[in-house]
Amino acid sequence: MNKAKQVYVTYIRSTREKVWDAITNPEVTRQYWGHNNVSEWKPGATWEHRRVSNSSVDIAGKVIETSPPKRLVISWANPANLHDADKVSRVTFDLEDMVDLVRLTVTHDELEPDSDMLRGINRGWPLVLSSLKSLLETGKPIDIMNLKSSPDAAKL
């Protein structure tokens, strides 16, 4: 099967350490993502994306590769589909320094073509990355869980 891949690039006036922390520290993810990202962040460890409002696990997977504060690779699936290899996708966060900026590239690949997950993440990542950038640059995230016309965002 031909898998789909999406790439999202955003530039944030911050440091790699702060961006890394914002991806892996639930105290920060809950502020801009509406979820706690919970894991030991060691290769092979599980990670869970727990909704702040009711603790439901909306996304889960394993840590595939980690080299703070440069690169994090995780698998990504609805918890019900964790054992269905076709439905487990992969997310890579690459953080690069650029003058007083960080270039954050999120590559989401191994996605099932024409799937709800593909449609969901294609709405979700721009929201999440916009909110992350706002939080790090202004101290105030975007209230992504309460936006108009973003029903899929609640899950991501």
């Binding site: 916009s130 936006l147 108009k148």
Partner: protein
């Protein structure tokens, strides 16, 4: 063998601002000079009218015609690169900016680059390289009032390869 494509590229970002303020940031030079690699913008924003992006020394970088315009929500125009000789022979692309209210003081900004005439796929890399930096700058300027320091990215490797083939 070069692969040709008519694929559109789409970028979405959410900005804590109003549609009116976002429209102003897209259509006035006081803003574009901050986040669009120093470019000024000129247009009367009427259908059929010209639109020009100009570098600080006055050189026309991009020229086009307004196809649709609905302030403060939508503008769509042809995009012809004048400044880079290797690109000035290319057929027009079409660029649009869509500004939608997504919540209280939040807009969803969608930039689309359409390629109605088939283009060498490697040329799309130029946009993939530059647009995220421009849109990140637009968001920073609107949310913080300041632009970050960033040099315009040079041509990405795929585009350099395209230029090299042209020169042969």
């Amino acid at each position: 063998m070069a692969r040709l494509t008519t694929e559109s590229t789409v970028y979405v970002t959410y900005i804590a601002t109003t549609p009116e303020k976002c429209w102003e940031a897209v259509t006035t030079s006081a803003f574009t000079k901050l986040y669009f690699f120093g470019r000024s913008i000129e247009s009367d924003w009427r259908i059929g009218g010209d639109i020009v992006y100009r570098t600080p020394d006055g050189t026309v970088d991009v020229q086009g015609k307004i196809l649709e315009c609905d302030p403060p929500h939508y503008v769509r125009f042809t995009w012809h690169v004048e400044m880079i000789p290797e690109l000035s022979h290319l057929p027009d692309s079409i660029v649009s900016y869509r500004i939608e209210r997504a919540g209280e003081n939040v807009v969803r900004f969608t930039m689309t680059e359409e390629h109605p005439a088939p283009l060498d796929e490697r040329l799309l890399e130029g946009g993939r390289w530059g647009w995220p930096l421009i849109l990140s700058g637009l968001k920073s300027v609107l949310e913080t009032g300041k632009m970050f320091k960033a040099d315009p990215p040079g041509a990405p490797p795929a585009m350099q390869e395209y230029f090299k083939e042209l020169r042969k």
